[in-house]
């Protein structure tokens, strides 16, 4: 969990830094400011303002993300979904029960959804090709609903979670091996609004 969150933070910082950098480039030349660059530790409030000093170069400063993160930092919905920020949960054959690994993934996803409280998320239930097309629609529905229920139990508002079953209609792995099947039995997460 911490590693995942750090990755996201890092991404956010990188994006913000990129944004700040390009903003600064537009300001040319740098203008002397009445305040010095941010001091290393001591607060400036207690001191009288220092006399103005000419500044020849001001390095751009990366602004860290706000404590309550705006999902604008994450890019467009497509970018968010391409990154797979909400990890999928995998299932056994003809089962909608969550493994302990699945529960851990859902805990991380729940945390992320709390961090981005405006996200609306669609939980897609998928099945492998070894089941029949018709029954798999119901099985995918059951997988999606059980994941939704679990996320609600972790404190996510039910209104933020949609479910949809795709049965075996949209395999992630087109193969016909155990590995492909395991890959395709999943609840997949798609952020549909932010």
């Amino acid at each position: 969990m911490p590693r995942h969150r750090l990755t996201v933070l890092f991404l956010a910082i990188a994006l913000a830094a990129g944004g700040a950098g390009s903003a600064c480039k537009k300001k040319s030349p740098p203008i002397a400011r009445p305040t010095p660059p941010p001091p290393p530790d001591d607060m400036t409030a207690n001191r009288p303002p220092a006399p103005p000093e000419p500044v020849t170069e001001a390095p751009p400063v990366a602004v860290p993300p706000e404590p309550s993160v705006s999902s604008a930092d994450m890019g467009s919905l497509d970018e968010i979904n391409k990154k797979g920020i909400l990890a999928p949960v995998f299932f056994e054959f003809d089962s909608a029960e969550m493994s302990s690994e699945g529960q851990a993934v859902l805990a991380k996803n729940a945390e992320m959804m709390k961090q981005y409280p405006t996200w609306i998320v669609s939980v897609e239930g998928h099945c492998d090709e070894r089941g029949t097309a018709e029954y798999n629609l119901a099985l995918g529905e059951r997988r999606a609903l059980s994941v939704r229920q679990y996320l609600v139990s972790l404190g996510i508002a039910a209104e933020r979670l949609r479910t949809v079953s795709y049965g075996k209609e949209f395999p992630f792995d087109p193969g016909h091996s155990e590995t492909a099947w395991a890959h395709n039995r999943r609840a997949n997460f798609v952020v549909t609004a932010k």
Binding site: D78, N81, K82, D94, S122, R130, G131, T132, A133, E134, Y135, L137, A138, L139, E141, R142, L145, R162, T163, V164, S165, Y166, E169, F170, F172, V190
Partner: protein, 469 residues
Amino acid sequence: MTHRSILQPAVSLCAAIALGVVAMAAVPGTPQQPSATPPAQEQPREGSSKISGNGNAKPKLAVPDFLAATPDAETKAIAATIGQVLWADLDFEREYYMVPRDTYASIPVPASVDAVPFDRWRELGADGVVIGAVRKTATGVTVQVKLYSVAGQTAAFSKEYSGTAANPRVFAHTISDEIFKQQRNLTGVARTKLTFSSDRDGERMKGTVYDRKIKEIYISDYDGANPRRITVNRSLNINPVWSSDGKAIAYTSYRRQNFPDIFIQRIYDGTPPESPAHGTDRIHNFLPAWSPDGTKLAFMSNRDGNAEIYVMDANGGNLRRITRHPNIDATPTWSPAGNQIAFTSDRSGSPQIYVVDADGLGQPQRITSDDSWADRATWSPAPFNEIAYAARNGPGFDIKIRDMTTGQSHFLTNGEGSNESPAFSPTGRHIAFASTRLGNQQIFVVARDGNGLHQVTKEGNNYTPNWSR
């Protein structure tokens, strides 16, 4: 007649032909042309109008190319098509031994339908021969056809049709159905249609970062010819089923905001599809099944928290819950009398077929036990009382048939690829299903005894066939 409303933009060419047949077809036996031999129906001898085989053998029929009575290229092409398609239509029911067409390529096409070289057909061993002629008219074509008894040298069936030249196959299908009715007292299916779901156009789902092939609903002739796409929403459209009048198709579609709902589309009207189950982003509806009388739909919905079977009127009224179980209840089908519903449930731990009264009041009875997975029950029409379903058999599925009277089951397919989603023909004599036996998933049709396999789709992948009545 009713034909007019059945056939509109999508198959308007059929309409013209059908109307032509209705309006202008001669009564069998009515003399249309000067004839050396009187038409069979006027003959007093009983049974003489029926072509019979030698002893108990199936009658042997030949269908040579039809004569192009006007010598232009279009008429010749129509004449050739009708001959080929009629041969295949008559072959389909396996009531006749159809003499292969290449064995009589050397017998010259007669100058008229009455100048038949019977000695040549006798040499070939044919019991009957269908001779036809196509003539271009100001408005289309007329097709004259006679089925001759080779032994009696008399016409057992004689009729003339008129229609547009746009779809010659409809002439062949009509002739075939009428020959079966008159000769064998059999309802043919040459004018019935299939519907199925297909990804053949290779389009991708919109609004997603994943590479997802859409599926749209198609219809085709019973033999796969004349495929037409009837949905264009670039989404997932699956499980199409014909209404009993053949004018509407109900299906599951994700067309609206990407949640699954049931739509009824009047395919010849061009009106927007109705969604009688009133799906929402929370209430999902799947797998419609028309009641035999065409007034109701059974379907699966999550509206009470998990997959259950419901029944509603076709307009959405009188919604009734049929199953009540925390496990999955899916994939309904109606009994021919409409008083029972078979469905799939995993309440025993694996998907199995159950039967319950259509009022939902009785206890569901489990009817499959030899299979580790059983789904997509489809109940035969009368006079058969069978349920076909997909049963796990080895790594894939095979189509299995259970006789509901005797309780006996047998496999219809035998391990070639995976075989799913069976659908009976309207007469119960054939079954369509989807199979991966050739790689991609395709629709096949097979006779109820497992013989006479036909592949009816070839492009892309094709799923969940259903047969019009």
